[in-house]
Amino acid sequence: MTSTITPPTEAGAPEPRGRHPRKAARTTMRADLTPRQRLNRWDVKYSPYLYVAPFFVLFGLIGLFPLVYTFVVSLNDWNLLTGPGEWVGFQNFTDELQSPLFWNSLFNTFSIFLLSAVPQLIAAIVIAAVLDQNIRAKTFWRLSVILPYVVTPVAVTLIFSNIFGEKYGLINNLLTTFGADPVMWKTETLPSHLAIATMVNWRWTGYNALILLAAMQAVPRDVHEAAAIDGAGAVRRFFSVTIPSIRPTIIFVIITATIGGLQIFTEPKLFNATSSIPGGPQRQYQTTVLYLWDLAFNRQDFGKAAAVAWMLFIIVVAIGLINFWLSRRIAGVEARTSKRRTRRRLDAHAAARAEASAPTPEERA
């Protein structure tokens, strides 16, 4: 058991004194000192476990056990009210894989996810690039960008389900004022997905913009200056320097957006209060978590709901792993090439400094 933290009494003075030849003194001293020494050794050895134990015990009970037990439930014919029925093996899984409602929920989830993730990422990069400039009143603009983040999803949904109201919504009022046809935001599939994606985007774009801004600010100024010397304009620098440098952060944003986006619940749940089926009368925007909810707590089929939970779990973890693998590969390649590129640029930079009167160095790459 090696330790960086050397217990003072163990290696220090008391130990030799304990082995002192004088008998009478030794016994009293051992009785006096050894318990403290032993206590100290225990302290060093077991304290770390004591500190991490609360997390692991609680996480095991509230995080891991439920996931594992979900699998057990999914193998049974299990009703909310009557409890566990008979063991059915993978019947629930095969049933759900053949259920059009399950596939409908997956389609809706991915459609809403893509409609939110892609525009959100692009908008967040643009906002971050604008904020990355040498603007006045920095804090004010940054605050204004994350203002939507403090509005809770429930409030966001109430606000936007009014804005997207079919009869008197803000958007349809404007559309009819300009002579256009109103859009059936809560009835048609694609418009409803757009409306829900808008809620997600409104709340999260500014938040992600700040994450990307932090990454942009970590890009060394030298690299920008070297690129500028090479004759790259602001736009060229943005695509050739900024974007490649913040790629790991972009991937981080994508991963977190995926984990959250595939479990979307609040927005579709509250989008149309008049529908008795969660996710629209024809399940136009019933996401997978909403479908799980409907199965478990409205139709009381815990077995099937648990099977859906596990399949969604596998999808989320698989996408997370693919993202992780991709990001490591890209990061590896990127690090090697960008290191080379940066070195080249900095060399050029130094050369340019040396002969300050000389014209800008010619093309090199």
């Binding site: 040498n134 804090t139 994350i146 403090v150 809770t152 409104w202 004759g231 304009g233 939970a309 930079h349």
Partner: protein, 303 residues
């Protein structure tokens, strides 16, 4: 350095220099690529600001009018005078104050628990040596991406078994610890406390726990504040779980959603409620906005 500036302005800065001199805001030749941006930047910032703030303002406008505000062809631009009347109807429809109190209790307990246990475990992972440390840390990282929300079915069965449904305990328990919290504290503490400082405390005869208390906790305080802020936000905004286990003893989010489930929905009342329920976080935003910004940006670097 002066040579660099000269090259930058003469090379790529031509356009910028002319633009700078035109609107007078840029400093041609002064700061190289760090010059002040032009009107386009501020126009864009203004657009972002309006896009973020207008839906909130519109909610307040509608929430302070009667329902006729919704039917007018042009969106009303000025608030009406009925906000408090609508708020009164919110109070009549849902137990607002109970829900507010519940949300404060739930979010506070969860925040304290997550921060305390994450700091303890994060400190141990960052600064103490023990058998199995690496393996356990890999486990924590692996569980970061695990969607624990999908375990609601057994959790619900457990709460029912214990007879906890309808109590705040049932709302609180499933989020008492998070893997993210441990990961976040570990990443922060690993650089911020020098090993020598801990050793010095130990040589002075401090026990492990008092070393943690006098060296670890003071160093961890900034990260604890950030973690606390975000844990509070997450607990405050959670909707699925409180709706499932305690709809009759609602948190603020559940109560807010119940405004909409009445048979006849008056949208000006719903939006007055939405504005009212947003106020606590808006106040937090005004007080701790800067910390929120630095927290989000720190998360990016750590993540």
């Amino acid at each position: 350095m002066t040579a660099t500036k000269a090259i930058v302005t003469s090379g790529s800065g031509d356009r910028a220099a002319s633009r700078g001199s035109r609107d007078g805001r840029g400093r041609p030749g002064g700061q190289g690529i760090e010059r002040r941006p032009g009107w386009l930047t501020y126009t864009l910032l203004g657009v972002f600001f309006v896009a973020g703030a207008y839906p909130l303002y519109w909610s307040f406008v509608v929430g302070s009018s009667d329902s006729s505000a919704l039917t007018s062809t042009w969106p009303p631009l000025l608030p009406g005078g009925r906000f408090w009347q609508n708020v009164g109807e919110v109070f009549d429809t849902v137990p607002f104050w109970l829900a507010l109190g519940n949300s404060i209790i739930v979010a506070t307990v969860i925040t304290v628990s997550v921060v305390v246990f994450s700091t303890l475990a994060g400190y141990a992972f960052a600064k103490l040596r023990f058998r199995g440390r690496e393996g356990l840390m890999v486990f924590v990282i692996a569980t970061l991406a695990v969607p624990t929300q999908l375990g609601i079915i057994p959790l619900f069965m457990l709460m029912k078994q214990f007879g906890w449904t309808g109590t705040l305990g049932a709302v609180i328990v499933p989020t008492l610890v998070t893997a993210f919290g441990v990961f976040f504290m570990r990443q922060y503490l690993v650089d911020v406390i020098p090993d020598e400082l801990i050793e010095a405390a130990r040589v002075d005869g401090a026990s492990m726990i008092s070393t943690f208390w006098h060296v670890g906790v003071p160093a961890a305080r900034p990260a604890m504040a950030i973690l606390g802020l975000f844990t509070f936000m997450t607990a405050w905004t959670d909707y699925l779980w409180p709706l499932l286990v305690a709809p009759q003893n609602p948190t603020l989010q559940v109560a807010l959603s119940q405004l909409q489930s009445a048979r006849y929905v008056d949208y000006s009342v719903v939006l007055a409620g939405a504005v009212l329920a947003t106020l606590p976080l808006l106040i937090l935003f005004v007080i701790a906005g800067k910390q929120l910004i630095s927290g989000i940006m720190a998360g990016a670097v750590k993540g």
